[in-house]
Each structure stands twice: as structure tokens, then as C-alpha cells.
């Protein structure tokens, strides 16, 4: 549906963020409408990080994600219709319905796999980097994981391997830990990147709510990795969206209304605080309006375009049948 955003193209960045947000909202709606589509881990609140990092990548780069994967997949150019179909377990899903939301895979978009084992993607991405290096490729490997992932020994071991072998891998840590809530990280370190630092991996920290900052920092990180100087650990400090680990499909912060980027008086009701102070998508819209990059009409136009695409995607997914149970044993062995 959409090509990944280009470096420096802030409108494309914004477009990508809107796409991520509207996609996730549709996933929630699907979960409301269908009694059984598994448990979702949405990427809402992480859009600036997702779009910014994806803008720094090139076509052949390989991606290994964790359970909070939808945003990256879509941003990398996977077809939203086939992605929604997969999330619904349908035949025309990216994985033919076999993987579901936790294991979305689109080889053509360099999307190798999603591991739902905490830490799984980190080890696999280091392997992808090893493979790319062995093949003499210029592509790099990227892995996306949460702050809690540093609890797992496999993550530490993989960081060590990447550092030892100077592998071309970008470790993107989405730090959505927040005090007061049950932390998704239980690491005794002062800051997360103390661990990669100890292993002599270059680390960078960025405000993950700021798409421009992420795009710039990610570009620098990717240049380092692609240049053969070894791995980078990029820590994006993020908002923890209230729905990030919910088990029931509700809109904990309401449905996005981009006109609230300028009609701020209308921000009210139970979600007012989040919309006003924490919604990075609204904040980016506001920023682009303020510096004249976009007009209000253009913002709404982008949103409408995205929504139309998502509507189509949903229709495609709904129309897709379930795969035939006889397909169960098709791809057990290669």
C-alpha cells in the first residue's frame, strides 16, 4: 500500500505514523467484532519510533521483531490487507493464516520472523547479521524488542556475540517502562543501555516520541552499522500506552481524532490527559502544522487516505476464507 518513508521526508514520516495508528485501531475493532482473534499487542504510542527507524533502513535489510510487531511490518511496506488477514487467521494472510498476530512474516519486505518468545528476536537478528556478513552483503539486520527483553539471558548472550563478532545489527530497544505500573523491565541496571555498554556496544538514546529525533539518530546508527563498525544499541524512550498489555479489546485512549491537533479546546473527557500530553501522533501533527510543513487540510487528507486504505484492507481480510484444515501439515518440513 505505502512505500516505507524516505530519510528527510517528514510528510512521509507522518503518513507512516498515521498508517501505523489507524492499522492498530482497526485491529482493535476486529478484536471487538470477532470473538476470537487471539491476544493483541498494539504499537500505539510507539509510532514515532517505528516510523523514524524504518525511514533509516534500506530495502534489503532484514527485520526480526517481537510480539509488538504490526507497526514495523506495515511501515516496511507489507500489504495491510494481507496483514489484517493474517491477524484474523485467514487464508490470504501473509503467513497463510498459520502464524497469526504474534508471528507475522513477510519475506518480501525483509520481515524474517516475529518471535513471541521474549528475547527470541534478538538472537535471531544477530544470526541474520552473521548470515549477511558471511554472504558479503551490504544489508544490515534490525531487531526490535522491549525494555523487558534485557531481563532474558538470551538477549545478553546475543549482544555479546554481536559485539565479539562485530556484526551488522541494529538493536532497537523500545523502552516503554514507566514507574508506578508493573514494570515490563526488572533489570537492576541504572539505565538499560548499561548492559550493552558493558559489552562494548555503541549505544544511543533517543526520545522515542519525537519522530524527527528518531529519524536522525536512527540514520546515524544505521550508518555506523552499515559501515561495518559493529552493532549499535538504540534505546528509544517511549510512552507506555495504557493498552499495551490489555487482554480485552477496548480503546483505552479513545479513537484518534487528528483535528485535535489544532482544536485543542475540544480535548476533554476521560482520555484528555493522554491525548493532550502523551499522544505522539497528535504532537507530531501539531509540530508539522506549526512549522508549516503541513496544513490542517493536508493532515486530514492524509488521514482520510490512510483510513480509506485500511477500510479496503479490512474488507479484503474479512472476505478471505479460513485456510483448509488439511493444510496443517503442508509446511512442517521444507
Amino acid at each position: 500500500m505505502t512505500a516505507p518513508p524516505e530519510p528527510g521526508n517528514r510528510v512521509a514520516l507522518f503518513h507512516c505514523m498515521v498508517l501505523m495508528r489507524r492499522f492498530e485501531e482497526e485491529v482493535l475493532r476486529i478484536a471487538q467484532d470477532h470473538p476470537y482473534v487471539g491476544r493483541q499487542h498494539l504499537h500505539i504510542g510507539h509510532e514515532a519510533t517505528g516510523a523514524g527507524v524504518v525511514s533509516a533502513l534500506e530495502a534489503g535489510d532484514l527485520f526480526h521483531t517481537n510480539h509488538r510487531n504490526h507497526g514495523y511490518l506495515i511501515a516496511r511496506g507489507a500489504d495491510p490487507g494481507r496483514a489484517l488477514a493474517e491477524i484474523m487467521g485467514r487464508k490470504d494472510g501473509l503467513n497463510g493464516g498459520l502464524g497469526g498476530p504474534w508471528h507475522l512474516c513477510d519475506r518480501s519486505a525483509g520481515f524474517q520472523s516475529t518471535s513471541a518468545m521474549v528475547g527470541g528476536s534478538v538472537g535471531l537478528a544477530v544470526g541474520a547479521a552473521f548470515g549477511l556478513k558471511t554472504q558479503g552483503s551490504k544489508a544490515i539486520s534490525v531487531t526490535h524488542f522491549g525494555d523487558g527483553t534485557l531481563d532474558e539471558g538470551i538477549c545478553y548472550e546475543a549482544l555479546n556475540l554481536a559485539s565479539l563478532l562485530a556484526l551488522p545489527v541494529l538493536f532497537l530497544c523500545e523502552n516503554n517502562a514507566k514507574e508506578g505500573q508493573r514494570p515490563s523491565s526488572m533489570l537492576a541496571a541504572k539505565v538499560l543501555h548499561d548492559v550493552p555498554d558493558a559489552l562494548q556496544i555503541r549505544s544511543m538514546v533517543v526520545d522515542g516520541r519525537d519522530a524527527d529525533a528518531v529519524a536522525a539518530t536512527a540514520a546515524e546508527a544505521v550508518a555506523h552499522v552499515r559501515g561495518g563498525s559493529g552493532p549499535v544499541f538504540l534505546q528509544a524512550d517511549l510512552e507506555r500506552w495504557p493498552g499495551s498489555h490489555q487482554t480485552t479489546p477496548e480503546f483505552p485512549t479513545g479513537v484518534t481524532d487528528l483535528s485535535l491537533a489544532w482544536e485543542e479546546d475540544r480535548i476533554e473527557g476521560p482520555h484528555a490527559e493522554w491525548v493532550r500530553d502523551h499522544d505522539g501522533l497528535r504532537a507530531y501533527a501539531k509540530k508539522l502544522l506549526a512549522d508549516g510543513t503541513l496544513s490542517q487540510d493536508q493532515v486530514l487528507e492524509i488521514d482520510r487516505g490512510v483510513l480509506a486504505g485500511i477500510k479496503e484492507a479490512r474488507a479484503f481480510a474479512e472476505a478471505s476464507p479460513y485456510p483448509d484444515p488439511s493444510r496443517l501439515l503442508d509446511n512442517v518440513f521444507a
Partner: protein, 323 residues
């Protein structure tokens, strides 16, 4: 006797044990999972929440912590969540907990219960749907319990919590909401005692965990066809009550093995092998096994459904062995 859910009975056992032994400690997050029964853990958390450690996501070291503490004399209950996650601690379970007592010449005891939920859970896909019981049973030094009823889970958990042998206690989340009669106060169901869930004379169905419910449903329907099936629930896989199991097979002369795990090298294989070894002269027909097909669990609902060794498949199997 009180009518209770499985979830309540499970928590009862923990509350009773915690009340008796102030040295008893627990580790893990969300002992009853995240489903509709999660709230039944409240009585435990309210009273003894301070004795439940919420650990990092680090299954290997968390298991080691439990094992080391148990070796040091603190009886432990360790909850892994999904059995799939326990695979990150597989080495610690089999190569530390399982061997310590024997390798130390009997000096070291490891009073720990490893609790986890196995099986198809709807939407678990290939990484959250493991049934590891057969793999665990292929190792020495570990007891392996798989209760099915509210009455059993309480008595078996108590027995496991009081044992000095490390015990794998493998539950199925789909059982948490089932109801049944549960004796009041503490009691133990001795290890290694199978339960005959339903007496019958024509065919023996040996099933474990949730598959027992499917076997019972199948037996009910088979009764309508004039087939009188006996349903045997080993409950404890290690030690296994071969006497009861083989006794039933000798009596009926026919065997169907049912389990939610993969068939190859499974508990079903083991029971079938026992039949071929110890009930050979009584067998009147080939054995049939019913299990999960040997494929990663697919996400798609109808495909996941097709994985289940439910009543239909059991009935078909029984009809095959009845000839």
C-alpha cells in the same frame, strides 16, 4: 465437600500450605494466568502475597533460584506461566533439579513444584501451545503430575508441595473454570494412583489432563452405541500407576490412548508399549493412539481446532479398535 472451580481448589492448596509452613515460598507472576479465572488467586495474594516473588523475565535463573532455595531447605512453588516458557529453563529442570538427589548420594533434597499450563489455548500459535509432558517424562528424578478435576488438583498439589522430590505440575488453563466437589480442609492424593473415571468392559481409554474430559464425553456418546468404555486417568505420569492401567487393558482387551501432545515418543506411546509388553495376551485388537498432529500449532482458529484430539476423533478410534 464444597462445589468449587478448579482454580479455587488449586489456590486452596497453596493457601493451606502457606498457612502451615512459614518457610514455604512462591515465585511467579499470574499463577492463574490472564483469563477469566485469574481473580481466584486473590485469596492467596491478599493473605500471602508478600511471600510471592514477582520475578524478571528470566526463566533459567528463576528456575535455578527455586531449585537452589529448595536445596537450601525452603520449599518452593514456581509458576512459569505457559509451559512454552519453561523451555528456557529446561536445562535447569532436568540437569539440576532432576539429578541432585541421586548425584549427591541422597544428601540433597529439592522440594520444589514447577507449575505451568500446557496445551492448545486458542491463538497460542507455535510458541505458546506446548505440551511438554512427554519430554519431561523421559528424564529421571522428576515427578510429573497432571490433574484433571478440582478435587484432584487440590489433593495432588498438596502431595506435590509436601514432597521432597522436584515435581512438574502441568495444568491446563481450560480446566481452571471447570467445577466439581472438593473436600474441605487439607488432604493428599497419593502419587502414582490412577483414577478410573468411568468403568467399562469393552475398551480402555487412557487419557491425561484436559483430554480426560474429551474421553469422558466420547464414552458418554459411545454408551449410546452400546459400547461400554472405561476411562482411565493416570493423573500422575511419573510415577505411573501401571498396575491400574495395565489391569484395565487386561480386563477390556482393547486400548485407545489420548493426549493433547504430539504422538511421537509420547505418553500415549508409552501406554501402548506397556500394553504390548504387559497386556499382550489379553489384547483383542490393535491399539490406537489419538494425539495432536505433528505440526507447529497454527494460529488460524479452524486449523487449531483441527489439532485437538477431541471426542469425535476418540469415538472414531474406539470404533476402529472395536472392529
Amino acid at each position: 465437600m464444597t462445589r468449587k472451580t478448579y482454580a479455587e481448589a488449586l489456590i486452596d492448596a497453596l493457601v493451606e500450605r502457606a498457612g502451615e509452613d512459614e518457610n514455604f515460598a512462591m515465585i511467579g507472576r499470574g499463577i492463574l494466568g490472564h483469563g477469566a479465572q485469574a481473580h481466584f488467586a486473590e485469596p492467596l495474594m491478599e493473605k500471602y502475597g508478600h511471600r510471592v516473588t514477582d520475578p524478571p523475565t528470566a526463566e533459567g535463573a528463576v528456575a535455578s533460584l527455586g531449585i537452589g532455595a529448595a536445596m537450601a531447605g525452603t520449599p518452593m512453588f514456581l509458576h512459569f506461566g505457559t509451559a512454552s516458557f519453561a523451555m528456557e529453563a529446561f536445562n535447569q529442570i532436568i540437569h539440576e533439579a532432576g539429578v541432585a538427589h541421586s548425584m549427591s548420594g541422597g544428601q540433597i533434597k529439592v522440594p520444589i513444584v514447577f507449575h505451568m499450563f500446557h496445551g492448545l489455548r486458542r491463538g497460542g500459535s507455535g510458541q505458546h501451545s506446548l505440551s511438554p509432558q512427554s519430554m519431561f517424562a523421559n528424564n529421571p528424578g522428576l515427578h510429573l503430575m497432571m490433574p484433571t478435576t478440582p478435587g484432584d488438583v487440590k489433593g495432588m498439589l498438596r502431595a506435590a508441595l509436601k514432597s521432597d522430590t522436584p515435581t512438574l505440575f502441568i495444568d491446563h488453563a481450560a480446566l481452571l473454570g471447570t467445577e466439581g466437589e472438593v473436600p474441605d480442609g487439607p488432604y493428599e492424593i497419593p502419587l502414582g494412583e490412577a483414577a478410573i473415571r468411568r468403568e467399562g468392559k469393552d475398551v480402555t481409554i487412557v487419557a491425561t489432563s484436559r483430554a480426560v474430559l474429551w474421553a469422558e464425553a466420547a464414552a458418554d456418546r459411545l454408551a449410546g452405541d452400546g459400547i461400554d468404555a472405561e476411562v482411565v486417568d493416570p493423573r500422575s505420569v511419573v510415577p505411573l500407576d501401571t498396575e491400574t492401567i495395565v489391569g484395565s487393558i487386561r480386563k477390556t482387551g482393547r486400548l485407545v490412548c489420548v493426549e493433547e501432545g504430539i504422538q511421537m515418543c509420547s505418553i500415549g506411546s508409552e501406554i501402548a508399549a506397556l500394553a504390548a509388553e504387559q497386556a499382550f495376551s489379553s489384547l483383542k485388537a490393535p491399539v490406537v493412539r489419538v494425539a495432536r498432529p505433528p505440526a507447529p500449532v497454527p494460529f488460524s482458529p479452524p486449523l487449531e481446532e483441527a489439532m485437538m484430539p477431541g471426542p469425535e476423533r476418540i469415538i472414531a478410534a474406539v470404533k476402529t479398535v472395536m472392529g
